[in-house]
């Protein structure tokens, strides 16, 4: 009797889960496109800022940048293809979620020459919601990575605010560079996860 019940439950689960796959792909596509847009936005901001700098400042900033690090460096993320492919989809999704979340607050201080300045925080929050949906859809175990991230975020959340304003140029440069890099990370992770979950496991069109 128990086996029958178990069998029936498995069948229903299989039936139910078939539809979320299509929705999964759809949500993945939306998330990938949104993060791509954010990355392009970050790239545009960075280039604008770099263009507005003097040549001397630019060289200095290049040197400075190597020493500093981004606020998201504490988030351990795969840094090459091998590591990325070794990570599970859920791990990739959780890392992406943490990255996006880490930029929710600092993005308010991103200074942009044009209007996109105010759009970044809202876009980030929307992206975070989408990634959360994906995590919940693909969560099949008890792994809850997202729980630990807010605890780590708090000490570093005020990192950029504590710095003095006289180095605003440097800060802006670092902000923009780190933002751009992190967006590209999320884009890559989401694309790899999406391709791995696609029915044919083949991302080639």
């Amino acid at each position: 009797m128990d086996k029958v019940v178990l069998f029936l439950s498995l069948v229903t689960l299989a039936g139910v889960s078939s539809q979320p796959i299509a929705d999964n792909q759809r949500v993945f596509s939306i998330a990938v496109s949104r993060v791509q847009h954010l990355h392009l936005l970050a790239q545009a901001l960075f280039l604008d800022f770099e263009g507005s700098l003097q040549m001397e400042d630019q060289r200095q900033l290049n040197k400075i940048f190597l020493q500093d690090f981004c606020n998201s460096d504490y988030i351990i993320s795969p840094l090459d293809k091998h590591e990325t492919q070794r990570s599970s989809v859920l791990k990739l999704l959780s890392i992406s979620y943490r990255l996006v979340e880490s930029w929710e607050f600092p993005s308010h201080s991103l200074s942009g020459g044009s209007s996109p300045r105010n759009q970044v925080p809202s876009k980030l929050s929307e992206l975070k919601m989408g990634i959360l949906l994906l995590i919940r859809a693909n969560q099949d175990g008890a792994e809850m990575f997202s729980d630990s991230s807010p605890l780590q975020l708090a000490p570093y959340g005020n990192y950029y605010q504590s710095v003095a304003d006289d180095e605003s140029l440097k800060r802006t440069y670092e902000l923009l560079a780190c933002f751009k890099k992190d967006m590209h990370k999320v884009e890559t992770y989401l694309t790899v996860a999406k391709c791995r979950l696609s029915p044919e496991a083949n991302c080639t069109l």
């Binding site: 190597l66 020493q67 990325t84 890099k181 999406k194």
Partner: protein, 547 residues
């Protein structure tokens, strides 16, 4: 840390002995570029400067961000000369590399400027591979399909790298390329190509954030001549149109006459029976008219077999008013010649007063009235001939053909004229009866003519005519009733188409009395004759001979 390193390098530079002469330390190399073809490995190249006349070695050192450890290039050969290749193990993405190249010779070392490299942003893939060109057809119209494969090393299957493609095409003679963006797809259709041309196609790709690859090697294809099919279609169409045009032209030509007849109907010419155009052309009017006369307008003896159509014939014999004139005219006619006016050929013209019954009775009856008067008798006596009024007032000749046709018997003519009628129509012959002649047997008073109206019932013999007086004709009794029949025998045919009837009395009574009776009868019958029958023009009965 960094300052220490720099101090170290400066000390080395200072402590390095400088040679005198042309030799010196190597020049400052420069890093030209670092590229990653698949976002997994990358290669950096540098440009060496002057070597200072001494053998110079180059070394590349790099440092990762957030780390002070200097690493030397692991591979100087894979990338070629003056290059450093970083394999997968040594490559980290989203990590800044600080790379420096050092040129060293016996006299010293020279450092290049450091370059910060993030592998993500230096990706430049290899050109697409396996570019294939094929001509496909879409509803008869050919187009070019270009297909390619991503570069071998780029991992697009797992989504690690996303490539977008672009292709360009030009024909052989042109210099400008036509560029098409293909997106992420790996095939592309080009439609607007000229037939018979040789085309060159190249494809390149770019990662979503990176550099464009080099163009692939040109692939050639010759577009087929599909305009030939179009030409043949045009040729067929032109031939069909020409054929149709020819047919229409031929039809128009064939129906030219009818079309012309339809659009411009011809004016009908005069149609006169017996009108001979040839004679007209000759100009002999007399012959023409005679021809008209000869034609079977008055029915010929031989030609007309059905004389039933002719209902009534009239033989007009009466004394004209204008006797003197007519005498003159009759003298002219006395050769048996009969002049016909052109208008007299038509008996139906209604010209003569005797054509109509009423008129005929008036005019023609007058002599009867005068019959009893002596004066008239005298006049009649003077009158030699039967008058034939040719003035158009009367009816044309009575027996014009008789004198000229001796071979024809009167009975034949009469029989033909009268026909074996069943008595429906009573035929009347106005005959001049020579009563006196009949009585006397010879012409003592040939001039004493009297006009009577008699009806011919039958023709007994060749020269015997059974006449029927007017009075007895009221009922138009059939032929078999011969109660009051008078027999008249044709005694003589006058020279001028006159008929002398020899009246015989069947009962042997005196002819004179009979004649008188007859005259009376005829007189009585005169009034009643108007209602009966019709007159037949004897001229119509007998053919007109040419005069």
């Amino acid at each position: 840390m960094r300052n220490v390193q720099e101090l170290t390098w400066l000390l080395l530079l200072v402590l390095t002995p400088r040679t005198k002469g042309g030799l010196s330390r190597p020049g400052k190399p420069t890093l030209t570029s670092c590229r990653s073809p698949e976002k997994e490995t990358f290669t950096c190249w540098w440009q060496p400067a002057s070597d200072g006349g001494l053998p110079t070695t180059y070394a590349l050192y790099y440092r990762k961000e957030n780390s002070e450890i200097m690493y030397e290039c692991p591979d100087y050969f894979t990338g070629g000369e003056n290059s450093c290749f970083f394999n997968k193990n040594n490559t980290s993405i989203w990590v800044n590399y600080n790379i420096t190249v050092v040129a060293t010779n016996r006299l010293g070392s020279t450092f290049s400027d450091s370059v910060d490299v993030d592998v993500v942003y230096i990706v430049q893939p290899n050109p697409p591979e396996n570019v294939s060109l094929s001509v496909m057809e879409d509803k008869g119209w050919p187009f070019l399909r270009v297909a390619w494969a991503p570069p071998r090393k780029a991992d697009t299957r797992s989504g690690w790298i996303t490539l977008i493609y672009e292709l360009r095409i030009r024909s052989e003679g042109e210099n400008e390329w036509e560029t098409h963006v293909a997106g992420q797809q790996k095939l592309f259709n080009i439609f607007s190509l000229r037939s018979g041309g040789l085309y060159l196609v190249q494809v390149r790709c770019k990662p979503d954030h990176g550099f464009w690859s080099d163009w692939s090697s040109p692939s050639q294809i010759r577009f087929p001549e599909y305009f030939h099919q179009e030409k043949s279609a045009w040729i067929v169409t032109t031939a069909v149109c020409a054929f149709i045009f020819l047919i229409i032209t031929w039809l128009l030509h064939m129906n030219h006459g009818s079309l012309k007849h339809c659009l411009l109907p011809p004016v009908p010419g005069p149609k006169i029976k017996g009108f001979d155009e040839q004679l007209l052309k000759k100009g002999k009017s007399e012959d023409i008219f005679n021809a008209l006369v000869v034609s079977d307008f008055p029915m010929s003896w031989s030609s007309s077999s059905n004389s039933e159509d002719l209902l009534v014939e009239l033989l007009e014999v009466y004394i004209p008013e204008e006797r003197e004139n007519m005498l003159g005219a009759s003298k002219d006619l006395g050769g048996g010649s009969f002049k016909l006016e052109s208008s007299t050929s038509d008996s139906d013209s209604g010209r003569g007063s005797c054509d109509s019954r009423t008129l005929l009775i008036e005019k023609c009856g007058r002599p009867k009235e005068h019959e009893d008067s002596a004066e008239e008798r005298v006049e009649r006596e003077d009158w030699e001939d039967a008058r034939v009024d040719t003035g158009g007032r009367t009816w044309p000749s009575v027996f014009p053909g008789l004198p000229d046709r001796p071979q024809r018997s009167l009975s034949d003519g009469l029989s033909q004229v009268l026909g074996p009628s069943e008595g429906q129509v009573c035929k009347q012959i106005k005959a001049r009866s020579d009563i006196n002649i009949a009585v006397s047997g010879h012409k003592e008073s040939p001039a004493r003519w009297s006009v009577e109206y008699v009806g011919v019932q039958t023709v007994v013999n060749d020269d015997m005519v059974i006449l029927q007086p007017w009075g007895s004709r009221e009922g138009c009794t059939p032929l078999h009733s011969l109660q009051e029949r008078d027999y008249s025998q044709v005694k003589q045919v006058g020279s001028d188409d006159t008929l002398l009837l020899l009246q015989k009395v069947s009962e042997g009574t005196a002819d004179g009395r009979e004649a008188g009776n007859m005259s009376q009868k005829s007189a009585t019958c005169m009034n009643s004759t108007t209602a009966t029958g019709g007159y037949v023009d004897a001229a119509a009965a007998f053919p007109m001979t040419t005069y």
